[in-house]
């Protein structure tokens, strides 16, 4: 009796967990924890907090994985609407911190509604395409684009270019996987290239500075260029095998700014070298590969585009972050998945992994 119960409990616990995804996620989390430990060597309360964040993330991942895609789909509209309302509230009564209005004050704590949109936008769009699966016409793509543009504009306006890019990318991937015609993609690309000068004039001064800094970091070595200069020094001085864990001078002498959050890759890179970087990027590649596999094998349109979008979003996180820290992309606030310190990002990413697991495991059940 008891044995049977235990067995059932065990089955219940693992039946919607995807082994490879879980393994990769745990490996990334472990790497992240050791790196946070090194980056916050002088304030180790952060390590415990990050461990708690990860534990919460794993619970959220498990919970989301239990929900079948059909149920997930139902969250699309309400989450999207809620997100938009919150964004409008931010726009009206948001808290201004460091020149950007990104937060809503709830009295006891502050929330950043744009984070919600990272999941809500692809859910909404995937639901929308799924609903019109049989009759997809050009106008559906137009509507989808509008549904994407609204939150994108609101977030970019805050301004929070990093999050806007991630939300925009997640939405675009849905539209892409839903079959946006190549001609339109090519047209959009051309239009984007044409609009670049106008976009340039619309950018905030600090955003423009970041892009210019990328071209020549030494033009402003103590200002905007400082982050990039110090992080590239950290990475470069790490060499092939790194300076060793807890032995990064750039890290421990505090030359790397934001070293436990957005710039944690510089810390990891300095201490682990090119070899470590190879392993870390391989883990991400495996994660993305597994995600794309899940997408390719998914049974419904919703599941397919959702899995594809979530996976490419993960890729976007990694590429933008590593590109920024190593000095080939402008500085935007994008965390490195499961490495950067911060509860919100961990939870959001865990939801993404949970969605992938749900899609994978429920498909198999359906097939059985």
């Amino acid at each position: 009796m008891a044995q049977q119960f235990l067995h059932r409990a065990r089955v219940r616990l693992v039946e919607h967990i995807d082994g490879p995804l879980l393994f990769i996620t745990l490996a990334l989390m472990a790497t992240g924890l050791t790196t946070v430990y090194s980056a916050t060597y002088d304030a180790n309360s952060r390590l415990l907090a990050q461990a708690v964040n990860m534990a919460v993330g794993l619970c959220v991942m498990w919970t989301v994985a239990q929900l079948p895609p059909q149920k997930l789909m139902r969250f699309g509209v309400p989450l999207y609407v809620l997100g938009i309302i919150l964004l409008l509230l931010v726009f009206l009564v948001g808290v201004r911190v460091n020149g950007a209005t990104r937060w809503l004050s709830l009295g006891f704590t502050r929330i950043q509604p744009s984070e919600l949109l990272k999941v809500a936008v692809p859910l909404m769009l995937a639901w929308y395409f799924h609903k019109h699966e049989a009759v997809l016409k050009l106008r559906h793509y137009v509507v989808a684009c509008l549904l994407l543009l609204l939150p994108f504009a609101l977030i970019a306006k805050q301004p929070d270019l990093g999050t806007a890019i991630l939300v925009g990318a997640a939405g675009f991937y849905v539209i892409f996987f839903a079959g946006l015609p190549w001609q339109v993609i090519a047209g959009l690309g051309a239009a984007a290239a044409g609009a670049a000068p106008f976009v340039w004039t619309m950018l905030h001064d600090y955003q423009r500075k970041r892009i210019l800094t990328l071209i020549d970091p030494t033009s402003d070595p103590l200002g905007a260029g400082y982050h990039i200069i110090q992080s590239t020094i950290a990475i470069g001085s790490g060499g092939s095998f790194g300076k060793g864990w807890l032995a990064g001078t750039q890290t421990h002498l505090e030359f790397i700014p934001e070293r436990h959050t957005d710039f944690i890759f510089a810390v990891y890179s300095e201490e682990r070298g090119l070899l470590g970087n190879g392993i870390l990027l391989l883990l991400y590649l495996l994660l993305i590969g597994r995600g794309l596999m899940i997408a390719a094998n998914a049974s419904t349109l919703f599941a397919r585009v959702m899995a594809g979008s979530v996976t490419l979003s993960l890729f976007t996180y990694v590429f933008v972050n590593v590109g920024m820290v190593s000095g080939i992309l402008p500085v935007v606030g994008v965390p490195l998945p499961f490495m950067s310190y911060g509860g919100t990002a961990i939870v959001t990413l865990s939801v993404c992994i949970g969605i992938l697991m749900s899609i994978q495991t429920h498909r198999m059940l359906v097939r059985k």
């Binding site: 020094i233 001085s237 030359f255 090119l274 390719a296 397919r304």
Partner: protein
Amino acid sequence: MLARQSSLNAPDRELDRFRFRVALAGVAVFAAFAVLIARLFHLQVVQHDYYTTRAEDNRISLVPIVPNRGVIVDRKGTVLARNYSAFTLEITPSKVDDLDATIEGLGRVIEVLPKDRKRFRRLLEESKTFESLPIRTRLTEEEVARFAANRYLFPGVEVKARLFRQYPLGSIGSHALGYISRINKRDMEMIEEKEQTTNYRGTDHIGKSGIEQKYEFHLHGETGYEQVEIDAGGRAVRSLSRSAPVQGNNLTLTLDSKLQEMAEKAFGDRRGALVAIEPATGGILALVSTPTFDPNLFVDGIRTDDWDQLNTSPDKPLLNRALNGAYPPGSTFKPFMALAALETGKRTPGQAISDPGVFNFGGHQFRDDKKGGHGSVDMFKSIVQSCDTYYYMLANDMGIDAIARFMGQLGFGQRTGVDIEGESPGVLPSPEWKARRFKRPEQQKWFAGETISIGIGQGYNSYTPIQLAQATATIANNGVLYRPHLVKYITDSRTGERTMIEPEPLRVLPWKRQNIEVIKKAMVGVNISGTSARAFAGAGYVSAGKTGTAQVFSLKGADYKASSVKKELRDHALFIAFAPAEEPKIALAVLVENGGFGAQSAAPIARMVFDYYLLGKLPKGAASEDDVEED
């Protein structure tokens, strides 16, 4: 076409299409990761060495450790200049956004007086960019504690322990010792020229005058370095390696600070100079220039009002009269003239002239200061009674060229080479000098009449007190001329080895011994029965001297009465002397500006100096001075 695709409603084809896009995405991801890996390979392998250097430069900083400056002591070991450690509150202007606000804020924690602000402003103007500058010096322990508690409010401000120079005797001997002060741009150029830039990293004071300036590179020592690891905020985290600084060498002077003090006091509030030399070595026993100044005022940046006072005072306390003041020697020139006469064979000791009280030359009357003259005057009498007519005639007989040649040998009109910078050469008159000195041809010509007053130490004659002292010491020393010097020996701080400043004769003058004896005998006569007999009455030793009075301006024939002339226009009083006469231990020259007759004001100073140096006797007033102060 779109419509056709969608309306086909063929799930398999739709799935293929989707899978194609997924595959494309996979390829794109691979490509993107390849770009990242290429970038990381470039940074971590190709440019690894470059970035390693950058990282090392980031974290390692060389901090200079300033050596202790050498100590200066007098011949008896009394400390004249030493160092003490004190806390200063310093601001690094490059690290502070709003200087005024920071200083204002500091004023609420620690007392910052307007003079401190003024000094800080001045330092700021002449500072190097990344230097930290003192806003307050000599903080008390309590002030240090109070600042430490509020430190977080003042980034770019810190308390530093620094070594300060101190001159324990204050103004005594200040013209010989000199002082140190903050390095300015001119000093920086000098340091660069001497290729000492590395050694002066971290040093912010330098000798500005006197011994402190002349022996700067001996006193400074070698700067040590500490390699420290610093964090991004520039704070030192730990020491990596250290090379200890080498303390500066110590100097022992020939100066006798007690004698110096006594001599300075003897001047009272009169302006003047005294140089006392040990004839056998050329070592300077006392070098007085009054008024003096307190060199301690300069050490941590002199206050504006102190500086103005020193600079604008009509008494010119910063002027080193002993080396830079040039005066006509007056009658103190006569013994040298007499010796020249003997050596050139123009006179014999017994050869007498008849002095009618006036010497006529070319329609001009040169008067003796004694009306009616001294009667029959031989060489001895000419010196003892200071007979002018004797020397008018002598000068005329010798001619200017012979005088200039002889006096040049004695060092007149040339820098003595004493170990202090900025000595004046004075003027040894000669036709060549005149031709150089003046531009218009009619002025360049030497007139025979001009030679006459040269004989009594007037005219174009103009010598520094140290030249006069050197010449006096040379007579005392029977013709062996030494370079006067202040430093006796230098003690190497590492080995303890002493480098003596060798008393090497600059010249040995080929004088006949009996000629010198004639002059010495006459100079002894001066102090026994001559012009300075009163000043030396009852001395417990035999001394030799000669008084002198130098005209400040010519009174065109009128009788000179000191009391009727404004003080600044009164004659300068001079006196040269050495003692004991038979085996001289000290030779000196005294000058009292506007002191009137040499016998009156200059000779008594010499008497006090001799009494103290030879007998250890303090002057009557000074002997009980300690008691007076007690009361």
